[in-house]
């Protein structure tokens, strides 16, 4: 009987598989081989002659620099980070050192550096420790950031991106850890694993960012029940990503809904809406987001975005129902 894997089991399995090849890789992080092994994320990892597993101290800025040092020297590094907040400590390296590498180091010398970070979105822990805007890191440093949402993107992103010349961050939602993730299949994936299309329909285009795919699919299923079909996409935070598939869909539906669970004030969805291609189509657009503009959002709030289905239905139908 086929085992149904939870989100975290699936991710840790793929991380294990992706680092078993002949290519040497240095995998490091705090508690990577101790205790819960980073909430189970590293539970499968066993050191071999080519896969070095190293528990390290609490110095995230240096960990980021070490990853870039290994990359400059042509090696492969994967840094596991328990909380996305910790990555903030490494921003100098992520911005400045990677800029240097991109500008001056011939790509033929590049190794690989990947940060795998858990976004602590599982519940209110306090005003700190809840940074959930990995798209901001992408915008700040001009780097690819992937948010793993479904079984398909877990497999594709980890297999194709974990060890690959260059740098990226792969983010995991702690809120999803224990869930058995639905086996949704994709209709379309671009070559960068930046855009995944999950559903096909003619009435509305729904674009998910961050960890919003479940919400997007739930919304699409609700609209299905109302006799309205939707194209559903998940988009990763990748600078200069070709958005052609979404533009084509919007041209067809003339209605665009963007769902983004992050608290960042400026979002990649804003860039999509303000793009020349989308503006020339003049679609009806609805942003379902949290903006993090108010101090009250630092107090105890639900991590789950609540979407008002009726309001969305009105939007799709052009406000013709009460």
């Amino acid at each position: 009987m086929k085992k149904n894997f939870s989100y975290i089991e699936k991710i840790s399995n793929y991380l294990d598989i992706a680092t078993q090849g002949d290519e040497p890789v240095f995998i490091y992080g705090e508690n990577i081989d101790n205790g819960s092994r980073i909430s189970g994320l590293a539970s499968n990892l066993i050191g071999t002659s080519t896969r070095i597993i190293q528990n390290v101290g609490n110095c995230e800025l240096t960990h980021c620099g070490i990853g870039f040092g290994i990359m400059i020297d042509g090696g492969n590094a994967v840094l596991y980070v328990k909380q996305l907040d910790f990555v903030l400590l490494g921003l100098d390296q992520i911005c400045n050192t990677y800029n240097y590498i991109r500008a001056y180091v011939d790509p033929k010398f590049w190794g690989s550096f990947t940060i795998v970070a858990i976004v602590c979105d599982q519940g209110y822990q306090g005003a700190q420790s809840s940074f959930n805007n990995p798209g901001d890191l992408s915008s700040l440093a001009g780097i690819p950031v992937y948010c793993l949402n479904s079984g398909v993107d877990i497999a594709k992103v980890i297999q194709s991106q974990l060890i690959k010349p260059g740098f990226r961050i792969i983010c995991i939602s702690q809120n999803n850890f224990k869930y058995i993730i639905p086996e949704v299949s994709t209709i379309y994936t671009d070559s960068d694993n930046g855009i995944f299309k999950y559903r096909d329909g003619g009435n509305v285009t729904i674009v998910s960012y961050n960890f919003s795919l479940n919400k997007a699919i739930e919304l699409s299923e609700y609209l299905d029940l109302q006799g309205l079909g939707s194209d559903v996409f998940h988009v990763n935070f990748i600078p200069n990503l070709d958005m052609g598939a979404i533009i084509e869909s919007t041209k067809k539906t003339q209605k665009l809904i963007i769902i983004d669970s992050s608290r960042g004030i400026i979002k990649f969805g804003d860039e999509l809406l303000s793009s020349q291609e989308i503006r020339s189509l003049q679609p009806d657009a609805l942003m379902l987001t949290r903006r993090g503009r108010n101090n009250s959002e630092l107090q105890e709030v639900s991590e789950n975005m609540v979407i008002d289905n009726l309001m969305v239905l009105r939007f799709v139908l052009g406000s013709t129902i009460e």
Binding site: F26, C59, L61, G69, I70, D73
Partner: protein, 294 residues
Amino acid sequence: MAALSDDQCKRLMEIRLNQHRLNEMLKRGNFKHFPIHLAFGHEALAFAVSEVMGQEDVLCLTHRNIAYNISRVGDFERILCHFAGNSGDSPAPMGSMNLAFRDVGIYYSSSILGNNLAVAAGIAMNRKNSKTGDAVFVVTGDGALEEGVFWETLIFAKSQNLKLVILIENNNNSMSSSIEQRRCPIDFRKICSSMDIVYKSIDGSKILDTLGVFKEIKKEIVSGTSSVILAEAYIETYCNHAGATPGWDTDSRNISISDGIFINGTKVDPLHNLREEIGVTRFDNIYKQIAYKI
């Protein structure tokens, strides 16, 4: 300590002389878009590090990297082309603060204080994983060591027994503040002792002594008797932070190539010491062979 050969003396003088040439170009406004941090007074360190580096060893530098680049690259025109906005054989023009020539072992130069320390530790980690015996040298300053990354790197490097040589250029200055003006003193001999890290103190104005210490360092790294080594070199920087600073004692506009290779008014100049160490006649004879560049 064996005496320096004529070629070694020439290389050392060229580090100074080419900085003079750069300073004259800066005074003429040749590099308007490139703030070049000259390193008058750093020549002995740059020379010694370069002398002991093997084919596979790596050097990571700071924004004040010019003396090391001149020393390692040799071909000064290759450096000049980057200040002129040409890339030469690199992917892009590197400007001054990020100047690093990989083919001579300089893998990284960072304009961010302390940033290069962690990157150097990463390179050393990769070399350890690859089981090579290569040494990684990283240069920092008495200002950068106030950054958290300095201490983090020290802990990481020692914990992993990396073949990492951290060279502190202690010129008692961070921009325009002396150590006394900005922080408490730090005794690195005691710090290193507490972490079981080898500590070396260097008088960075003495050529032969400096070279001697770096030869020891290289020997200890290669033989495996030491892993992390922290070398603290006391030096004077005979020019201000970057570019002209009117009214300052160290305004590089007051330094003129017409005064010859020395800098007027300096007390512990490595070049003065070189002349004392090898004798005035020999010094002058060697200098005459390269002075045509003036």
